[in-house]
Symmetry: C2
Subunit: 289 residues, 2 copies
């Protein structure tokens, strides 16, 4: 596996593959890779001939006071892991490669409407506009046929789908299931901010989500489910940002006809801000019975 | 010259040219082509091996009550003209090719900040977001090496530059000088809305612009110049939307240090809304003397 840091070097490899008729998959990451990322690489391999991963901790998606400076950077271990996983090319740029300093003139950004300002967007101002911008730039650097994003960051996945659809990026977005520990904890680089005791307690997240899914299937009222989930986590010592049930398609508030829902949570535990989500089909049990 | 209407057929031709190592230039238009457009094709030919033009009257850039329905559509004459001009491929899609009807899920749009809401943006709500969206889509359909835009639509040119820069579209934007009649009238499809008498009177636009340029070179105060230009046109029977002097780089208000300026005007005359602009260097005469 080759590692390149400049856009020019990246494009040279990609151009070669294009000429050979290769189908190219892309997995953008912020590094500090774990089994969750490696399952994205697996998905990428299953959908293409060549897999490009990127490692870049994008400053524009961190709000003031967040963990940009402390975000774990472990390039050598990541390179070993990607090589073992069969990734073909790693793009590991510096800030100046992604955002050349000579940029001037008027600015443009992505307006995501409600999708950009609700849920995590409400607690991380500018986060999703930053995500959309860096992904647009990375897509234009790599020009892949497919790109793989984890469902763990469900709102981000919808942001990327909205971006690609609105501007007709010539690539397919694949959402990959959330990697989890045996007990069900969603794999995340931020889990390492947890102490052993907190890590045990963090299982409360998946338990609360599973309970909400069951309650949605039973047709219980959404506001009750949201309140119960929120308080369940608060009682365990979390500081929840939100515990929300939304329409899966676009994270709009659930209307009376909506069946395909998503339960989403963000909650702080010690130094970590954990997010997770599950799919839920409303009234599934009611319909089945 | 071949004409294609589907994105798939377009991509097939482009793919072939890519394999042959051709450099590709793109000239997006709304059709009803005149010598101004053909000079963009000339610029495109000078910068590439293959020239793609598009003709598409994009509904999302027309505000309510504008001339979308009446906009002149003259495909056969345009095809003849493009062929004579040496254009290699015409992309003439239907609405369903550009905006496939199966689109659903959350929306995204381009936020252009002040650039999108000032000058023409103030009088044509949503216009520049629509321009940015359709150009992003067209760029992703054609994937050219360069795209050529006329300076006649100066604010549009800056919008496209902002779009390309923010999202790192892998293409170069070339601005081409405004095509003019011998008397100086900026060539525009909307000139045909003018009667013979109005056409004569329309020369007031370039006269007012030239006067403003001279006054800027002499170092006269900007607000005075703007007011004089506005009234000069109003006295000729125009209904001016604006007559403005701005910083050329980003159309911001002129600061004390700014030298590289642009004079821009939009004014209605009869059924036509005319726009035009000229470059002006502040204090040029003063410095030279």
């Amino acid at each position: 596996m080759q590692t390149v840091s400049s856009v020019a070097a990246l494009r040279e490899v990609i151009r070669q593959w294009r000429c050979e008729g290769r189908r190219i998959a892309f997995v953008p990451t912020m590094g500090n890779l774990h089994a969750g990322h490696y399952s994205l690489i697996e998905t990428a391999k299953a959908n293409a001939d060549r897999v490009v991963a990127s490692i870049y901790v994008n400053p524009t998606q961190f709000a003031l006071g967040e963990d940009y400076g402390n975000y774990p950077r472990t390039l050598e271990a990541d390179q070993r892991g990607l090589r073992e996983q069969g990734c073909h090319l790693l793009f590991a740029p510096e800030d100046a490669d992604v955002y050349p300093p000579e940029q001037h003139g008027p600015r443009a950004s992505v307006d995501l409407g409600h999708l950009g300002t609700s849920l995590c967007g409400a607690f991380r101002p500018g986060h999703f506009a930053g995500v959309a911008q860096v992904c647009a730039r990375l897509f234009h650097f790599v020009e892949p046929d497919v790109a793989v994003f984890g469902e763990k960051d469900y709102q981000q996945l919808l942001v990327i789908r909205a971006l690609v659809q609105a501007f007709a990026f010539p690539l397919q977005i694949i959402g990959a299931p959330t990697g989890r520990s045996e007990e069900g904890l969603a794999l995340s680089s931020r889990n390492q901010y947890l102490s052993d005791v907190e890590r045990e307690r963090a299982l409360g997240v998946i338990q609360a989500l599973r309970r909400a899914v069951a309650e949605i299937q039973q047709g219980l009222p959404i506001p009750e489910i949201e309140e119960r989930g929120y308080h369940q986590l608060a009682e365990l010592g979390f500081k929840p940002d939100y515990f929300a049930v939304r329409r899966a398609l676009d994270l709009a508030l659930v209307g009376p006809e909506d069946k395909d829902l998503r339960v989403l949570v963000a909650a702080r535990l010690g130094k970590a801000r954990l997010i997770d989500n599950l799919s839920a089909i409303r009234g599934k049990d009611v319909i089945a019975s």
